[in-house]
């Protein structure tokens, strides 16, 4: 009997539609985030994360409607990230039915924002998303820095130190994405995951690079992640969440079945 490690499917949503392609035979409209969320809930997802990648701020209300509709019928924790810059953004997401919000660039620009958000809404709903990239050379000890703007801009901030600082400021959870691995399908950056997970007391969600189910288990066993997040392996119906849980269980990980 113990706490289960979590599997979290992530939906990238642009203007209210799931992008990066979703293919399920039993879904009428695979671009509809509400239908996809419903499907993941049925398969046993432990939480669902929506990443709003809508470029124009005028269209941000669409993600609110998505969250409202999902929250009306899916009773597991929902996280929304992307474009969270002000306390009012957080309030609107929570009022729409989100349980947590992911803060990324806004934390880098103004770390105090994380403190204000945690004080106002409680640490339990503040997830700080960290995009990290390896900057050390082969011969040097591992070192990662955080990136903003989807990995285009190097900040010079050490990723492990940043994670510690964000938890100190009130982050209740860290969503850690390896920019080196994102989209590669060769597995998580396990050294990075482990370095961050060992450094902070709060749960760490590993993200970026999942290509098969063993990668998920590796993230927990070797990376010491408390939860694992993946998008494409679930979207393309390569694997179901149920299969992912069985694989984790086979490898000795406690899961919710």
């Amino acid at each position: 009997m113990s706490l289960a490690k979590r599997i979290i499917p992530c939906l990238d949503v642009d203007n209210g539609r799931v992008v990066k392609g979703v293919q399920f035979v039993d879904i009428r409209d695979a671009g509809d985030p509400v239908e996809v969320a419903r499907r993941y809930d049925r398969e046993g997802a432990d939480e669902i994360t929506f990443l709003d990648i809508t470029a124009t701020s005028g269209n941000r209300d669409t993600i609110i409607h998505v969250v409202e509709q999902v929250a009306d019928e899916v009773f597991i924790p929902l996280t929304v990230g992307g474009g969270i810059r002000e306390l009012d953004d957080i309030r609107r997401m929570l009022n729409a039915g989100a349980d947590k919000v992911g803060i990324n660039s806004a934390a880098v620009f103004r770390p105090e924002f994380v403190r204000e958000a945690a004080e106002k809404f409680g640490s339990q709903c503040i997830v700080v998303a960290i995009d990290a990239k390896k900057v050390s050379k082969e011969s040097e000890p591992d070192r990662w820095e955080i990136f903003t703007h989807g990995g285009r801009e190097l900040t010079g901030i050490d990723a492990v130190e940043w994670a510690i600082k964000m938890v100190d400021y009130g982050a209740g959870e860290i969503l850690l994405t390896s920019m080196d691995r994102d989209g590669t399908k060769i597995g998580f950056d396990l050294a990075l995951t482990r370095a961050i997970s060992d450094a902070v007391i709060v749960p760490v969600i590993a993200s970026g690079g999942v290509g098969n189910l063993d990668h998920l288990a590796d993230g927990v066993i070797e990376g010491k992640a408390d939860a694992v997040l993946a998008a494409s392996i679930f979207h393309f119906a390569e694997y179901t969440i149920e299969q992912a849980k069985k694989k984790m269980q086979d490898r000795g990980i406690e899961v919710r079945l």
Partner: protein, 214 residues
């Protein structure tokens, strides 16, 4: 039509609990309320809450809701959730010791920062995610398999003085009280509104509960 009042005192987002109650029993009138009369008039009361205990107690005292909670816990089916469970104890270690409602004798204490699991892995705080709930007999567990997993997120937990008040325990890594009950009051540390089918079943059971222990 029976009614349930969800106490809205500014501590966190009530959207999920409102929707989950409606989903669990569509025939029940679910009301988000912040005034004393509406709470007194409802057939059942849900007391949710997230955040810090001192803010919670200040909000309850400022709004005059402490008194009505003390009143309705004597008379009608009452469900405390998360911080709404912790607030029912005598006091909490959080925020340099905070006096609470003292409906259950006992303390609310912080998880140790040096916990490890059976494999020696460090356990994180908050205790976040799906953990098993070991039930003791109570009508609100009807239709919910023993040791079902519910969704938790908390760093403090209730330690009642009287063992008889505990109606469920969970391990992290030591056993702690994850549900309390006495007469017509039931309180849970986890979030039934975020615990999928088993959570909805618990809410459904509450919405038809007559407040008796058996």
């Amino acid at each position: 039509m029976s009614s349930v009042a969800v106490i809205d005192y500014g501590m966190g987002n009530l959207h999920s609990i409102e929707k989950a109650l409606q989903h669990a029993s569509p025939e029940v009138d679910v009301q988000m309320v912040s005034n004393v009369e509406a709470i007194q008039q409802a057939d059942r009361v849900v007391f949710p809450g997230v955040g810090a205990i001192r803010d919670c107690m200040l909000a309850l005292d400022d709004s005059g809701l402490s008194a009505v909670i003390r009143e309705v816990v004597q008379t009608k089916p009452f469900l405390g959730i998360c911080l709404g469970m912790q607030a029912l104890l005598t006091d909490s270690e959080e925020n340099d010791k905070t006096s609470c409602l003292d409906i259950f004798k006992g303390q609310v204490i912080h998880f140790s920062k040096h916990m490890v699991d059976s494999q020696g892995e460090r356990l994180k705080i908050p205790h976040m995610g799906w953990n098993q709930v070991s039930q003791k007999p109570h009508p609100l567990w009807a239709g919910i398999p023993q040791n079902s997993r519910f969704y938790f997120v908390h760093s403090y937990y209730a330690k009642p003085d009287d063992e008889i008040d505990t109606v469920a325990t969970t391990e992290y890594p030591n056993e702690f009280t994850s549900a309390l009950a006495k007469d017509n009051v039931f309180a849970v540390q986890f979030h039934p509104e975020k615990s999928q089918a088993v959570g909805l079943q618990l809410l459904k059971n509450f919405l038809s509960w007559d407040g008796q222990q058996a």
